[in-house]
Symmetry: D2
Subunit: 146 residues, 4 copies
Amino acid sequence: MPKKITTHDVQNLLRDYQLDHEGHIAIEKLGGNAARARFRVGKQHLRPGDTVSGPTLMALADVAMYAALLGEIGLVPLAVTTNLNINFLRKPAQKDVIGEARLLKVGKRLAVGEVTLFSDGDPEPVAHVTCTYSIPPRAKAAGESG
Amino acid sequence: MPKKITTHDVQNLLRDYQLDHEGHIAIEKLGGNAARARFRVGKQHLRPGDTVSGPTLMALADVAMYAALLGEIGLVPLAVTTNLNINFLRKPAQKDVIGEARLLKVGKRLAVGEVTLFSDGDPEPVAHVTCTYSIPPRAKAAGESG
Amino acid sequence: MPKKITTHDVQNLLRDYQLDHEGHIAIEKLGGNAARARFRVGKQHLRPGDTVSGPTLMALADVAMYAALLGEIGLVPLAVTTNLNINFLRKPAQKDVIGEARLLKVGKRLAVGEVTLFSDGDPEPVAHVTCTYSIPPRAKAAGESG
Amino acid sequence: MPKKITTHDVQNLLRDYQLDHEGHIAIEKLGGNAARARFRVGKQHLRPGDTVSGPTLMALADVAMYAALLGEIGLVPLAVTTNLNINFLRKPAQKDVIGEARLLKVGKRLAVGEVTLFSDGDPEPVAHVTCTYSIPPRAKAAGESG
């Protein structure tokens, strides 16, 4: 049986694979086919009007989903995003952005999930994302003994 | 203040505009930025392998979202779908399909929502949809007095 | 080497698998990672305002892409659509709809393509679709000898 | 009649609104409902395996489409992306990325287009994007006399 994956494990993998946006993305919660990630927004992620840039939102969504997936299938560095669809809903505030990811399906070859993005402390979503990950063959063996 | 829209009101509008798929789509629940719709699956909606066709799922999602929107903005016949994104997750059973729609945003010009589709009685979703509706100018006045 | 697939071969497979919408979808052209399909629009596919229904457009796009894919990988009945994203651009006229499908990638496990939909004889597109197909393992062997 | 918009005009607007990714995105061609943009890839845009990051691709696609739109409707700074759908097709090389954007529709309220992304010099696309922009009311007046 694979060992339970922790936020710490995922954070380390993201850093090793340079997916944590130079330390700006933190995984805050993991498990139950879900994950919560925070983008610590700096000046470089803002746009005129003191809003957060679109690529920042997309990057957070992608990483939050990836974290949720790693929590289920183990530390598989080679899963790749094949599709990402984002609806921008409201102008984000000049604040950290929170991504709440939830897996809808984890198959042998594909995983699909959705991520809702919020400005920290605000209940109305700023964006909604669905994305698909392709899982490499034998990825399920990761962390398995024998 | 606009009068409260009921499932009955929406069902009538769908029938009048031929959007109920010849009586196969029923609105079961409405309100709170959400709606539940049922596709009463007949032989003509099946595919080999006794599964429900993709267009049937897409049609249900579209109508469920439209119902949720009508519940919020009133009986506006002219709202049009501008974008629909569907992820097919599992093979549907040879059963009715249920669509649970939830609005993510209702703006002046655009409404965005998501719909999760289930085979009746099965907790695992068969498909997930996001879609966007364009709301015609002055649509918000529908049902308003004066 | 697999034999060259013809429009006739694909049309037969679509009919056998009940994917030709009761004879309403015809494959008109095939080859070079592309396909053209026609939806022969009948009364049952119209909506008030003498326009063609959204599900009709989605069904045509899905089949046109599938035809283009079969033209490349051989007559694989088990490929399944995993994602379909449609942008509705203009109100279709009360005419046949033409779908021009083009494959963007045919991988071992996934194929991705786009389909542009036109009202017959009108150069402005009525909708644009991208979709992804999952190709079953060993599907490439279809039609191969020994 | 609005004056013809040049790549220079668009480049200036992108810089003023901090949309040029610190000078990394250059508009190379503009006109005829289309635009070509280049992302000058630096170390910070790479990922392990010497590939270009997903957010870099998404940022380029968004800006290329925006440039194509500005070429048609004039220098409207307030158009906002409402939806972006990306299919990742092939691993990009460690090279500049080129985005070829083409508008599918420019309406009064919404513009829809597609962008195909290539590694510089390689004919096979690395990603394909469709996106939708919301055009602010009266945006069409930009650059108009009177």
